[in-house]
Amino acid sequence: MSRSLLRTLLELRAPSTPRPAAQFKLPVRPLSTTPLRRNSPALSDSATTPNQNSAAASSIPTIPTEAAPLVAESRPPTSQAAEALYPRIPQQVNPSTNETQTTVAQLLPLLRTQPAHYLTAHIWGRPYLVTAGDQIRLPFKMPGVVPGDVLRLDRASTLGSRDFTLKGSPYIDERLFECRATVLGTETEPMRIKIKTKRRQRRNKQVRSKHHFTILRISEVKINGPEAVGL
């Protein structure tokens, strides 16, 4: 049996076990997805994101600096602290034309049926092209997270399979996909030593730096059908 056929079979099988929460903290920690579902009126009345046809004509993707790219969802006791750190900013979705609505309604089911998917997730303005199972080394240490936390990445600019790509302008509607990442821990790098010299001075100065990086693992990439946006 070929590998892609096997993978398709595995995808078709219904998910039997619920996604386990992080196991090292408390014995029972249900995932709270309810605080995520606070749809603003601006979200609910707008239809969908533009498809690949209109994305070429749309504006260059701009990165809103204040966009909160992710929501920590696995810690109900500290969810208020997480919300204070990462306030939920509703997505601004541009109204789409009839043409893009029809192409999304026709082509998104085809994209879903192809086995492997990728997406360009944005975390604090930086794009990461990931598939399920990839590991991301963020260029910073993310405050307020501990190993085992599950984050939902809700900003993505592209979403695709082998033959189809859905482009956002600048971002895809967050109801069309679910991408989750597990915090694995914090890694660091060897100490960097930069030697600073000044002219006509006999002394050299050593500047030492050592940065810390948060490691994420993409645990889930799921694509919803066009019904999720009411098409």
């Binding site: 386990p20 090292f24 199972g133 590991q135 085992g148 399979s161 821990g185 890694e187 645990s219």
Partner: protein, 137 residues
């Protein structure tokens, strides 16, 4: 007939399905008399019980080490160790070092230039000039 090994179906990756904390044991050494252990003794009295309660996956071993500096040693699943000397530190600083040992993976630290590491095949495949509609010049 030769014996053939079973082909590996999948590779285990932490965080997909289950998450397992990489730090499995934390050795905490102190000295009763030395001044450099003053902060460590206060840490053991005030912070350690709460820190150990919130991390049931880690085994905490507290033992004296007379006439020596206080040390914390993290033991990891991959068999490696990471030791930090916490002489003359405040309890809050020692708590940060304990969190550092908890968050570490145990691997040797190395510089990584690429942000994404993947073992999956490329989703879209390799581009070929001999297929498709060609490119208008």
């Amino acid at each position: 007939m030769t014996i053939r090994a079973l082909e590996k179906v999948s590779v285990g990756q932490n965080g997909i399905g289950a998450f397992i904390l990489q730090c499995k044991r934390l050795d905490i050494h102190y000295c009763d008399h030395s001044g450099s252990s003053r902060g460590m003794n206060a840490f053991i009295k005030t912070h350690l019980s709460k820190f150990a309660q919130t991390h049931p996956a880690i085994e905490f071993a507290v033992s004296p080490r007379p006439r020596k500096h206080p040390v914390m040693i993290g033991h990891y699943i991959n068999g490696r160790q990471k030791a930090i000397c916490v002489a003359n530190m405040e309890p809050s600083q020692i708590l940060k070092k304990a969190e550092l040992l908890r968050d570490a993976s145990g691997d040797k630290v190395k510089r990584v230039n690429k942000p994404v590491t993947s073992i999956n095949e490329s989703v879209r495949g390799v581009w070929s000039p001999y297929h498709g509609n060609g490119m208008a010049v």
